[in-house]
Symmetry: C2
Subunit: 331 residues, 2 copies
């Protein structure tokens, strides 16, 4: 368990996508976030109260959460100084980086001296097994994407919320560091040794009662040349009964690489083709559209896509999700 | 570099597949193997000279190679005693296990006391990047499979050998611990953090001159519910111009799980479908049949499959690979 409330560290965030961890926590768990801390050259902000380490501690902050990506996986020197300062002021540290916090000697030293907890969200002490592919009881929904960062986590969390409102038995299953911070539970699947991807997901979403739904946060895309292996192992381990394709209109290129986006139809076909290996009944129940970058055309896009695929097409942050829930109830 | 020659440790191997690492080294590099060491209850043997640690050292053995799988990933106590004995007798240790040798305190202690090298083949000190998906120069062939343990490594090594005989510019690229022991090089791709699968393969098979071929050892199967994520990341990172489907006739079930084998056609279609993401020119150039378990029907099977797919179908250990080489030369 990570002590709350949090100070969200944004560093010198170069754009909004760089702070998606901080933004996700602040959106889904605003009560846990006491403020943000950014450097003067930051290009992005959460719009919550800016405070330094001293002010945050005075206001009761218990954990310093690294809410920004470190470009290229390298920890900048200025981050280390701030983290050591937060430790010295008595805050625990939470990080989703690929390197353990304790691998930085200054941080390790300070945390020992101050008896502070270092939460490395990407690391699990659990020893996983390889996947078995055996059908488990209970039901599962997976969010998949035409690309990375299109809204798979938000969609899963919004569906969980709507299903709870409908008195359904449902659990959000986090598969990335931001989801873990929101759910206080889960596995960062992209940090698992690749032999155990599907096995780790089988562990994350075990046998359950027939009426229970696990809503599993998707990762990457089957069409992303960097991460498709993770997406496929996650699909096989999830053995979803239902999936939703998440998409952001107007995106020209797959994030971070020189490759075009697949069509929604290609994602549906490929997901069914691969997914039926571990669940023959897999079906697409709708499309979730992230319309934050195309607000004026949002309704037009949703109508067009819904007609084309004969499935509900909704913005999970803007719209009622009843059309999704209705289909889920029928499964 | 691992010091040679080797003593191949077989433990209490329960069947021939359990010692596939030892068998692979002994088949491809017999000159490096001075003998085998097995427990009295072992059910499998390489048919080479049986010797204990003392005899092996007296005969010049330099490295004790763990050539058998540890079931369930657990290191049996008797293995530890033998490994410590080998260390005390002056041998280095080579292991392809998922746990580091140094994580066992007795082994760590003994290796320090005796100034012995512990080779953990599944671990790389290299920090990989995520895959970029950018087309690299030079040509690449990947062996893929209908299942695990069907001959992907043997096929790749046999093709490398045949291409060398044909004076072609070729390099075998190992992606598993046995391949690494044979090639003295490579990456155990199933031990890579899953975010970096395709990136690690991009590093393993970098830009090269136009006429050069990398023959990349495949892993798992796109249809294996435990390992398909690894297979897909390997396919995307390899961006092969050519692939060969490896298959063992008469196998009823995917290895280790309750799932039927896909057809060769399904493997060809899925490999092209996924592979064209990073190489639009990907093509299947043939089928490699492991006929070790169906010798009397081998010719019949090869003829039938070759006719059905209109591609050469060969046993890479028994047959001349000229039909494969001819197609490779035309690419």
């Amino acid at each position: 368990m990570i002590s709350k409330p949090y100070l969200l560290f944004l560093g010198d965030a170069k754009d909004d996508l760089a702070i998606k961890t901080a933004a996700g926590i602040n959106y889904w768990r605003p009560d846990w976030c006491i403020g943000q801390m950014s450097f003067p050259n930051a290009k992005s902000s959460l719009g919550i109260r800016e405070m330094n380490v001293k002010e945050a501690v005075a206001n009761g902050a218990k954990t310093f959460v690294i809410g920004v990506v470190n470009a290229g996986g390298v920890m900048p020197d200025e981050w280390q100084s701030v983290i050591v300062e937060a430790i010295s002021a008595g805050m625990d540290i939470a990080s989703g980086m690929h390197s353990r916090l304790s691998s930085f000697s200054e941080i390790a030293k300070a945390s020992k001296q101050n008896n502070i907890k270092l939460h490395d969200l990407r690391f699990s002490e659990k020893q996983f097994q390889t996947g078995k592919g055996i059908k488990r009881k209970g039901k599962r929904l997976l969010t998949v994407g035409t690309d990375c960062s299109v809204g798979k986590k938000y969609t899963a969390l919004a569906i969980e919320r709507a299903m709870r409102t409908s008195q359904m038995d449902v659990t959000f299953k986090a598969t990335g560091q931001t989801g873990i911070l929101i759910a206080e539970n889960g596995i960062a699947i992209d940090a698992i040794v690749s032999d155990f991807i599907s096995g780790a997901v089988e562990w994350l979403s075990p046998d359950n009662i027939d009426d229970h739904w696990d809503i599993i946060e998707g990762q990457g895309s089957l069409f992303h040349p960097s991460f498709a292996g993770v997406s496929l192992g996650l699909l096989h381990g999830s053995q979803p009964d239902a999936f939703i394709v998440c998409h952001e209109p107007n995106r020209a290129n797959m994030r971070g690489v020189d490759a075009p986006l697949p069509s929604i139809q290609e994602v549906i076909d490929q997901t069914i083709q691969n997914g039926k290996l571990t669940n023959k009944k897999i079906q697409c129940i709708g499309i979730a559209l992230n319309t934050s970058n195309c607000k004026s055309k949002a309704d037009e896009y949703k109508l067009e896509i819904s007609k084309k695929y004969n499935l509900p097409c909704l913005d999970p942050i803007q719209d009622s999700l009843d059309p999704f829930i209705e289909i889920i109830k029928s499964i």
